[in-house]
């Protein structure tokens, strides 16, 4: 397992190098010297030009320039944005990243979970009414035109019913005079939410790890889980954060639901297909023969091995939604990374565009790495041979 993780890590770093090299040379391939492009532009101050020259080390040879670029990249020195001069690119990205991260990760986890659970149920009840109904509904949303669906949902829930806030990611009035910046709150949400999630995982793992699921253990797990969540909420409220978190969560509901609706069917159908194969496996029959309860056979036998292909799709869909993130962020006026990428490209803000592009890549590579590890944890055959085992 350790060797597997190390080799995957090596691969990720190598891919990252190749990726930033590509980004770099794409930039180089642009006609003309980058500073020349701005020489005649009065909008770009002399200081920015100098900064850029220094950052890119244009006085040195190509190889040296490239090495400097790589070195700077890994130190987080991405230069200064033109359109937000004199803010460093790193600052801008660090401001946007948590917002994008919170929104897309939430939407993804939710969509994956819904898809997994529904796929599991409809595969187990294949050919019944639930199967047809879920498939039709899922495919309808899957094929719907995304911006239109978003508009319809905004119209229903935010405009007509006024249940949810319209526009932006925070309520400006509420945040006037707030003791925190929105970003601090996002930061707390990322770290606090992550800590709570890990805590919950550990609690459930500790109590329900055994093969014997006693009622007492299940009750204890739920109890201590609730206590943990209550403590976290209490801490947030004592710190005066809760109203602001609640505001952000309110603003997240619509985009998250839209993203989930549009994408859960992918996981669901994949899970259904994959599980229709595993239910035919002999070990599922053997599990029935062992007299195990139906839900255990479904979850520990049929669904447990069927989940593997869906993990791959999780990464692929994360990639596609990151690139399609612009649509979501525009529809819901969510000032995230997608908007930065788009606007910086329009504004010829090369340092910012490069930085945003590179960051998206880093993000995806990390997701890929996590998926690889997850895959190996879920399928012991992988860490053993280094690749998925052929079914014998």
């Amino acid at each position: 397992m350790r060797r597997y993780v190390l080799s995957r890590l090596g691969q990720v770093i190598l891919t990252l190098l190749i990726y930033i090299t590509l980004v770099y040379f794409l930039l180089q391939a642009m006609p003309g010297d980058i500073t020349q492009m701005y020489l005649a532009n009065p909008k770009v101050p002399q200081a920015a030009r100098e900064e850029l020259r220094k950052q890119l080390g244009l006085d040195q040879g190509v190889v040296m320039q490239y090495l400097t670029y790589v070195k700077n990249f890994f130190r987080g020195e991405l230069g200064v944005s033109f359109s937000h001069y004199p803010r460093p690119v790193w600052d801008i990205l660090m401001e946007r990243l948590p917002r994008t991260f919170v929104l897309f990760l939430t939407a993804h986890v939710l969509s994956f979970y819904v898809g997994y659970v529904m796929g599991r149920v409809i595969a187990w009840r294949r050919g019944r009414v639930v199967d047809y109904a879920a498939t039709v509904v899922g495919i309808t949303f899957w094929t719907a035109f995304y911006p239109l669906l978003a508009l319809v949902l905004i119209w229903i829930f935010a405009y007509t019913l006024r249940l949810l806030p319209l526009n932006q990611f925070i309520e400006p009035k509420l945040w006037q005079g707030a003791p925190f910046s929105a970003n601090t709150v996002f930061g707390y949400m990322v770290y606090g939410g992550g800590a709570v999630a890990i805590g919950l995982f550990l609690i459930f793992y500790a109590f329900l790890r055994g093969l014997k699921r006693t009622r007492r253990n299940v009750a204890l797990a739920w109890l201590s889980g609730s206590v943990l969540v209550a403590v976290a909420l209490l801490a947030a409220s004592r710190a005066g954060l809760l109203v602001y978190i609640w505001d952000i969560v309110n603003h997240m509901v619509l985009p998250v639901c839209t993203l989930t609706l549009i994408s859960f069917a992918g996981t669901m159908l994949l899970m259904r297909d994959s599980m229709l194969e595993t239910v035919q496996e002999d070990y599922v029959m053997a599990a029935h023969a062992k007299g195990l309860p139906d839900t255990i056979v479904r979850d520990r036998y049929a669904a447990r091995t069927a989940i593997l292909p869906t993990v791959t799709s999780l990464v692929l869909s994360l990639a596609s939604s990151m690139s399609g993130g612009l649509v979501t962020e525009t529809m819901f006026s969510w000032p995230g990374l997608g908007q930065v990428l788009f606007h910086s490209a329009l504004a010829n803000d090369y340092p910012l565009a490069t930085g945003a592009l590179a960051f998206t890549g880093v993000f995806l590579l990390i997701a890929h790495f996590v998926a690889d590890i997850l895959y190996a944890v879920l399928d012991p055959r992988i860490a053993y041979t280094g690749q998925p085992a052929a079914e014998g």
Partner: protein, 347 residues
């Protein structure tokens, strides 16, 4: 005493696009406690279908047409799901034909056995269950530390043993072993068969061995049931059936397999193919391939009758004289072959 398992005119069919496959037709047999029954017949004659019927694990396209299966006097087809779950593994455990694939690839082998134990014996703690797995592994001859390994780290023979250990985990009243050793080489096969037989005798468990190989059946069973094209054709004590086979099919089958102990005799294949169970032959299903067939055989279905006490057979023209190679295998005596059928010769 009540038999442990009783099949009473049991008949089940599969629905296919081409029609109904009459996989099991009017099978009547019973199994006493502690008894080993060998079920033998060519591929596709319905052996696995009988096993699956007893486990109540038939696929959705199957239908029980007639008859009953009684386990400890209770009709399993009128049991509730909960009762069936209790019967499984604690009452009847099974070693599947594809034993190699009946282990979940993503869980440790030990876990899968512990799971069965704690499901059926809620009063047993997980530690006790692991201790039992340890002793089971010792019993079937797998190193203990292998409990914590995944199935893909096992060799084929080890998986087979693990599956046997799993079947023994809840001390079932009976085990159905569907070709438990076909995937193994002959030496390992023989060893595992002997071990299983020993364990069975030690804990006085009933057993149904299923095989297409008469020599395997001859070695381990008390009672033998011979099946052809979905029907039982002969049933009796192993000694009776193998020393004095009455049905021409039994006789032909015995001659088609070499002795597991390496006794030499010429193998005689059975001419023709097993019939298509979508539309089996009229009368006796074996008549197109039978060299004793008379005009009657294609018209009338022969009766299931007790030819001598405890020895049943369905044949219009049963074989009369006994003395064949299986008798030699069991007693280890010299050859005195019978050539009553005149089809082939012993050496």
């Amino acid at each position: 005493m009540d038999p442990l398992l009783k099949l009473d005119d049991f008949t089940m069919h599969y629905r296919t696009k081409a029609g109904w496959v009459q996989a099991v037709d009017g099978v009547t047999l019973s199994l006493a406690r502690g008894q080993a029954l060998g079920l033998v017949g060519e591929s596709g004659c319905g052996k696995t279908s009988i096993a699956m019927s007893v486990m109540k694990l038939l696929p959705y396209n199957s239908k029980v047409v007639r008859g009953r299966i009684l386990f400890e006097g209770r009709d399993i087809y009128s049991m509730t799901d909960g009762e069936v779950r209790k019967m499984r593994w604690k009452g009847v455990a099974m070693i599947f034909q594809a034993a190699m694939n009946s282990l979940n690839p993503v869980y440790r082998v030990g876990n899968q056995i512990v799971e069965a134990i704690v499901t059926h014996e809620p009063e047993t703690s997980e530690e006790e269950a692991w201790a039992r797995v340890r002793s089971l592994f010792e019993l079937v001859g797998i190193p203990k530390e292998r409990m914590y390994h995944y199935p893909h780290e096992y060799s084929g023979g080890m998986k087979q043993r693990a599956v046997i250990a799993m079947a023994l985990a809840c001390n079932p009243k009976m085990i159905i072993a569907d070709e438990p050793t076909t995937a193994l080489d002959v030496i390992v096969q023989d060893k595992i068969l002997r071990e299983m037989d020993q364990i069975r005798r030690k804990i006085n468990m009933s057993m149904i061995y299923i095989s297409h190989d008469v020599s395997v059946i001859a070695e381990v069973s008390d009672v033998v049931a011979v099946m052809y094209a979905g029907k039982l054709v002969e049933l009796g004590q192993a000694d009776d059936v193998f020393k004095r086979p009455r049905h021409p099919y039994t006789y032909a089958l015995m001659r088609a397999y070499p002795s597991i102990l390496g006794e030499k005799h010429e193998l005689a294949t059975i001419p023709g193919e097993p019939p298509n169970l979508l539309d089996p032959p009229s009368g006796c299903r074996f008549h197109p391939r039978c060299d004793r067939a008379s005009a009657e055989c294609s018209k009338a279905d022969p009766m299931w009758r007790e030819i001598c006490p405890g020895h049943y057979c369905t044949c219009h023209n049963p074989v009369e004289i006994g003395g064949t190679w299986v008798g030699q295998v069991r007693s280890g005596k010299a050859a005195d072959g019978g050539d009553q059928l005149g089809t082939s010769s012993n050496s």
